[in-house]
């Protein structure tokens, strides 16, 4: 397990050394989202009964930032290592592929949770947000980080250039997070789009996470937990399969 700890340590130190870019920058951009959307829509929208829009928005934004940063951590680290060639130091070592998987996913989780909880803590002084079921919120935060950390590994392995990774992020991750109910309750959508939203796994992450705060959600948190767990299992199996086969890593 020493190899796993070393890789985890390396991955955490790596993003921490560029903390302005990896932690503070997403905090700032998320706060700007919050400022703009709460001012523009704050008086017009009530997503859940009795819940002010700005309070509704904060868990969604925190989860969105958490997901995007968890993805960015593993994917950017892997592609940088591949392009600069220093991935060989890991590939030459006896660290096993499950250890590699766990280390990258946990480092992504640490960054994701750090950014997500940072947003929550900064907004605490200005906005009254209940945290009715903290365990539910924590479970969905962790599961979301695990899933996006694992998807980040897949993207980092698959992409051969930075623009391929940017495409993955801009055409897959960004639309899935933006259209998952970060800014709205899906009950405010027409029936067709409600159905489409149910096909988006990120919707279950954000809805379940929000349940932890308000005790209210668009669908049952147990169902969300089931969907998210299945997604995690599927993504983990794919990622472990890629790492085991050495796809695009070992010739």
């Amino acid at each position: 397990m020493k190899g796993f700890y070393s890789l985890l340590y390396k991955e955490v130190v790596r993003f921490w050394k560029v903390g302005f870019q990896t932690v503070l920058s997403p905090l700032l951009s998320t706060m700007l989202y919050l400022l703009i959307f709460s001012h523009v829509l704050g008086d017009h929208v009530e997503a859940f009964p009795g819940v002010p829009y700005v309070s509704f928005l904060i868990p969604g934004l925190a989860m969105m930032a958490l997901l995007q940063n968890a993805f960015a951590n593993s994917s950017s680290s892997l592609i940088q290592s591949k392009i600069t060639g220093n991935i060989i130091f890991l590939l030459l070592s006896p660290v096993s592929y499950p250890e590699i998987f766990l280390a990258y996913v946990l480092a992504s989780t640490i960054r994701g949770v750090l950014v997500g909880s940072g947003i929550f803590l900064i907004t605490l002084w200005a906005v009254d947000i209940p945290l009715k079921f903290p365990l539910w919120a924590l479970v969905f935060a962790l599961l979301g980080s695990f899933i996006l950390g694992a998807i980040g590994i897949v993207a980092g392995i698959w992409a051969e250039k930075f623009d391929q990774l940017a495409s993955f992020q801009n055409f897959i991750i960004l639309p899935l997070t933006f259209l998952s109910g970060v800014f709205y309750s899906i009950h405010s959508l027409p029936p067709f789009w409600q159905e489409v939203s149910h096909l988006n796994p990120f919707f279950y992450l954000i809805d379940g996470f929000r349940y932890g705060f308000f005790g209210v959600s668009d669908i049952s948190p147990y169902f969300s937990l089931l969907v998210v767990s299945i997604c995690l299992a599927a993504v983990s199996l794919i990622t472990l399969g890629l790492l085991k086969s050495g796809y695009k890593l070992r010739n």
Binding site: K2, G3, Y5, S6, L7, R14, V18, F89, R250
Partner: protein, 299 residues
């Protein structure tokens, strides 16, 4: 005792290129071994197969008796590889890089050995410098240090002295020689054939993915049929009978081709018969470069 490296019928194909073609090779523990060949001969591919960076299409490879596929963890713990490319992690200092690398190999407290490697490679003053700030030569030293953090019994160096200055080259070989003297098996690839000749006890030559020569360094040198003799004569005019073997003039010497030593006697007789006098004669030993060129031409 298990061989340090055992390769049986290993092959690797990239598209239409057969980079390694049914290679059989065994390197005993404690050897200082050279893997030579022109660019594209398959040296680096063979090293990649041994280190796990590539997977063979067929055949088996083992390091210290551990199969590189089935027992990859034990095999990788037994080998340290200095890669040919100058790669580095720009986020970390030299010491951090070596600590992380030690951790990958399951070593918790490696400070004493890291300090020793840094000192031996003249890197102590750069221990806390970020990798980005190092010169090319310094980065090359760190690559060597990284390969040694886990004290592997087998050390593979893929062109470790390419583009490095004389001082580092000498320091590096002194260090590697001392490691070999203490029992480590050394395998190196280099285009500096004089390095291989001076350091290695056995040599394999590769061409187009196949081993075309494999012997001790002294046997390879003895096997060289292309020899020369350098003669200084007075008056400075070569008899016509010797002109077919004349290669050229070099610093006042006539350089003549010598297929066999027995030819030397008749050559001297011909010169004497022409009335000339031999004022100096040099019979240079063939070097590895001559052997290499001859073997590569033959294949």
């Amino acid at each position: 005792m298990n061989p340090a490296i055992a390769i049986r019928q290993a092959s690797k194909q990239f598209g239409s290129l057969r980079a390694v073609d049914c290679v059989d090779l065994e390197i005993a523990q404690g050897e200082f071994f050279a893997l030579l060949g022109p660019n594209g001969a398959g040296k680096t591919t063979l090293i990649n197969l041994l280190s796990g960076l590539s997977r063979p299409d067929s055949g088996r490879l083992a390091i210290m008796g551990f199969d590189v596929s089935r027992e990859y963890r034990k095999a990788r713990r037994s080998v340290g590889v200095v890669p040919q490319e100058l790669v580095f992690d720009p986020f970390f200092t030299v010491r951090e890089v070596l600590e992380v690398q030690s951790g990958y190999f399951g070593i918790s407290d490696n400070a004493a050995w890291i300090d020793e490697i840094l000192a031996r490679l003249d890197l102590s003053s750069k221990a806390d410098t970020n990798m980005r700030a190092l010169s090319g030569g310094m980065k090359r030293r760190v690559l060597v240090a990284q390969a040694l953090v886990h004290k592997p019994p087998v050390i593979i160096l893929d062109e470790p002295t390419a583009g490095v200055d004389v001082e580092l080259r000498q320091a590096l070989w002194e260090f590697i020689k001392s490691l070999n003297a203490s029992g480590h098996t050394i395998v190196l690839t280099t285009h500096y054939l004089e390095e291989a000749e001076a350091l290695c006890n056995r040599i394999a030559m590769l061409k187009a993915g196949k081993i075309v020569a494999l012997d001790t360094t002294s046997n390879l040198l003895k096997s060289c049929k292309v020899r020369h003799v350098k003669l200084q004569i007075s008056p400075d005019s070569l008899p016509d009978a010797l002109l077919p073997g004349f290669i050229g003039k070099e610093s006042g010497y006539h350089v003549l081709k010598l297929d066999e030593f027995a030819e030397l006697e008749s050559m001297l007789e011909t010169i004497r018969a022409s009335g000339a006098r031999i004022t100096d004669m040099v019979l240079p030993h063939p070097d590895l470069e001559a052997v290499f060129v001859e073997i590569m031409r033959k294949q």
